[in-house]
Symmetry: C2
Subunit: 683 residues, 2 copies
Amino acid sequence: MRTLSSFALVTIVVFALVCETYGDEGMYLFNDLPKSQLKSRYGFEPSEAWADNLRLSSVRFNSGGSGSFISSDGLVLTNHHVASDTLHKLSTEDRNLIDQGYLAATTADELKAPDLELNQLVSIEDVTDRVEAAVAKDASVADATKQRRAVIAEIEKESQDKTGFRSDVVTLFGGAKYHLYRYKKYTDVRLVWAPETAAAFFGGDADNFEYPRYCLDATIMRVYEDGKPAKLKNFLRWSDKGVSEGELVFVSGNPGRTQRIFTVDALKYLRDTRMPYVLDYLRRKEVTLQQFGLAGAEATRRARDELFGVQNGRKAYTGMLAGLQDPKTIATKQQREEKLLAVIKADPALADAAKAFDEITSVQSEKKDLIGQTVSLRSRLFDLALTSVLRAAEDEKPNGQRLREFTETGRESLVQDLLSEAPVYRDLERVKLADELARLVEHRGGDDQLVAEVLAGKGPRERAAELIDGTKLDDISVRKRYLEGSLDDIQKSDDAMIGLARLLEPEYRRLRTINEELDERERQAYAKVTEVVSRMQGDSGYPDATFTLRLAFGQVKSYQQDGKTVSFATNFGGAFEHEAKHAGQTDFDLPKSYAAAKEALDLSTQMNFVCTADIIGGNSGSPVVNRSGELVGLIFDGNIQSLTSDYLYTDQQARAVSVSGVGILEALRKIYGAESLADSIGK
Amino acid sequence: MRTLSSFALVTIVVFALVCETYGDEGMYLFNDLPKSQLKSRYGFEPSEAWADNLRLSSVRFNSGGSGSFISSDGLVLTNHHVASDTLHKLSTEDRNLIDQGYLAATTADELKAPDLELNQLVSIEDVTDRVEAAVAKDASVADATKQRRAVIAEIEKESQDKTGFRSDVVTLFGGAKYHLYRYKKYTDVRLVWAPETAAAFFGGDADNFEYPRYCLDATIMRVYEDGKPAKLKNFLRWSDKGVSEGELVFVSGNPGRTQRIFTVDALKYLRDTRMPYVLDYLRRKEVTLQQFGLAGAEATRRARDELFGVQNGRKAYTGMLAGLQDPKTIATKQQREEKLLAVIKADPALADAAKAFDEITSVQSEKKDLIGQTVSLRSRLFDLALTSVLRAAEDEKPNGQRLREFTETGRESLVQDLLSEAPVYRDLERVKLADELARLVEHRGGDDQLVAEVLAGKGPRERAAELIDGTKLDDISVRKRYLEGSLDDIQKSDDAMIGLARLLEPEYRRLRTINEELDERERQAYAKVTEVVSRMQGDSGYPDATFTLRLAFGQVKSYQQDGKTVSFATNFGGAFEHEAKHAGQTDFDLPKSYAAAKEALDLSTQMNFVCTADIIGGNSGSPVVNRSGELVGLIFDGNIQSLTSDYLYTDQQARAVSVSGVGILEALRKIYGAESLADSIGK
């Protein structure tokens, strides 16, 4: 599933630019669309209105995905697996939305998500000059980091104060460009319809990242303003036809991160160090969460959403690593890099760019030494404690000197997170924290002084239980008190988890500073490489993905695998056949609602389809539109051959996988009895 | 489950001696029984006949467990989970012995295990002087390793030629003692009865290493000689009563490995390096095997036996590591070590022993540098290839210079393994090998020359598929041809897997030599420590476990947990209650045979019980006998509190868990309709 994995991203910084594009490669900026490519390849010229409506109909889910407005009265379409975080938070032992799905009979029944934030991109402004001007030419890395942070905070605050929009400065092309993105925020988002997981994630972990697929990986929500369904000017009309072979389609969404510009040494760091480390971590979490679930149905439910995310990440990373381990991948990258280096070395004026490659290499080896050095324990209660501790200290500083997430422009999101009503399960927290403490001991060694202080003479399990028992941070009013309180309140707190966060705070800050300075050095180096590339390329390229809105394009296209043609689309009939072929495997049982509707369904209706558009994690939930700008599908996955697209786009077999728009309508009407909802879509 | 884990053992060498014993601690040699302890603690004096019958009734399963003779006509009792390797190998898509269990109606229906070897310990001889004499006092480590290997091979061969018994020289007390163990071998072993896994492993992974338990973890086999049931002089009579609180019991089995004498630095190496490494490995295999099983019921069946082993190891290691990460554990060990060091440092004559501690410390740090450096890919087909390649080369050498497993005395076991009729599943092999190749790339780095040669320009998956497609080693006749062929046949072979083994052979030998020399250095160092300890201790202690026959003793004893008493025994009624309490969880569904027999069963019959005897992995299947030498139970597990017993015995809550003998008889008669089998037991 193409969600942005919340794991693994933390220390991979995201910026870059691509030297050459291949086929339908590219995730383009909305203020720099690939007009010449579209014209030459497809004879298509997007009008301004076409592009504006698509942009303004697209939304970003800040939980890590994409979506689109699909009606004038606020309906939002996204993937079930993007919504599942919310479905999980809205579920209880007695109301399992994940298993059973949901359909609001009236707007009064629409369920409010506890902490969802949706962003609609209203404008983009180039602020590169202002950022550059604020960073002294010969500043040290530490100073440059601070200066850049300060000017970005200033620009964001100024814009937010002036426009009222969420304002984010986005670093593009590895630090060669800075764009100010202004977003209209929607924080009142409610659940309208979700199918059962058995329909949405049909085929489970086995079928994940595979194709052909038969998943109804869709969920409909609605944005509200002032307690009423939002009135939208921009939304997507729906095509009433399925897609056809060769059809040109567009994807508008928020790809999370690519590493296409990465130097060969940076890729080797990923291959030999970073990805194996992340995979060990993900497998560890997978086993821990599975174990927790063995305690019974309710335990399984509590752990499931996180387990799904972890399994999805594990499968994606396994594929990405496999691609990097294939000697052909590095050989291809090496060839391209050598071409670039030849140009650079031939021109004495480009000595800086040559040095940049060495700088990137040396940053990789410093990162290698830092691997595993983290004190960010993955537990919600610890996270709340650390955030509270940091918030109190950061608030004492001027806005421009704060850690990014504590600046004034980020306050609303911070508060939303801290005061989320999402349930916290102490039993699950205990198990997770015990494992995180064990991991801390493993990474720092049992003789480490900080470890000794953290454990306080107890084993990880015993200590975790003590910490969880000794915290009240699962109580929103307690969190609110800390949020509104002073640094002194934090320092005097006898909450066990706050105490742990205080203990770890200095090391957290030390490591964060080191990592941010490494990021700064990489940023400066990649910016220099980018200059050369842009000069070579002439035409507009696209920057590596940054979890901001991009346009990709491609063809609906079948492909060859093991000597057979894999058809571009599947249909409902195929879903029933797929179920029959896997009888006895739980993950391949369609929900009862399908069986009940089988007679009524038009089994030839398209269900899923593939295209060559260039997508990546974060694109989940992106609308797929046709030349007329009508929605034809909903991105939810890439096939297994596409997993290398983090660093290398190909279109031989790699495909983006979508739920078909007509399939969603057919299901709403015939399976879920949601006629009036279906009627309101696209209008 | 207390099987010897086939993972993780490979490079942990096993030897040691314990300074002081606590309570019922101890795994004693049959030629040095704890007579004074038994007399003083329990007023029990074992007669020679008692001890001889127990020893000669005990068997070792070379697949990694223990068992006992339980009738004059060759019946052998062991755990279902010890037998499961055989059950798996005897199963096919259409005959799933693991799920369905088995009962041979007549001896003609008893199913022959494809590669099981059972050992009965017939005599022990001290050969320390001869081994010591053969190793020159001032030999280099490399020479000492060779000299020791040579004299051991010589002693073993001489003994085998003279007596016809399997003859193994066992290194005890960290190299201070060498004993020659002579075994009668049984290689024709047949399956008589096995319950369903749902009965044997009731509660699954969730209940594993927990107590109270309700598992019928038992299987009955029969040894044959000359195609007929073996006639046995020594076997165990069965008690017709359940055990009672406080009762003295004995366990006779083959504990695999303990680390009780390990220095604090050696334990820290386990805590900070070795165990985290092994756990990463186990979790990786767990996820890989689970993924494989998602393909369907048959795939699940194929992977299951290995998956169970991996999950069992993962749970055991998690507990062991948690114990070591508890600062109290190392503090306890540190205290004891300081006492010992004080004695050593006070006596200039013991300078060698003081140096030995430093030597052990420096070996740990060398081991740390070697972690992950292995080319032993865990795939049956690769293993067959490497063994074939090594065999051909080793056979060119004189017996005394060969790697241990290729000496003449080991030949029969080697041939049994190489020519085993156990099925090899190419689909599973492909997935396992792909993962192992990926792991090789991770550990050595993608730029490593050997890695490049192994991958031959392809990604791990592609290369694994090519290797599996290109080998015929799943054909026994092909393996036989290599086994009977010359080195030249191996060198000229165009079998892809043989080619890979040839490529990896030099690195395998290089790493093995390094590891064996580290072992030698540790052996010499621990031998010096042992001398001091023996002098301090005066009385006979026990050596760390070596997967050879030992006697442990203890009391049947309830314990306190979370303020409640956990009763020493459970019964059949409890099993049904436990099932009801976990309704809806697959692993807690008792088999249909239980439900059908519920009326007939005496629900108060003991099912499982606990005692304080000192056991460890490898003890699985050990008989538990009373003062009269009658079987009262069958070891199958330790509770979660016992998982630290690798390095620290305690008896506060730690308990060994057994299946009750009367429970087995009740099940045979009432659930499985095996009256005549039950009648023949103990007679």
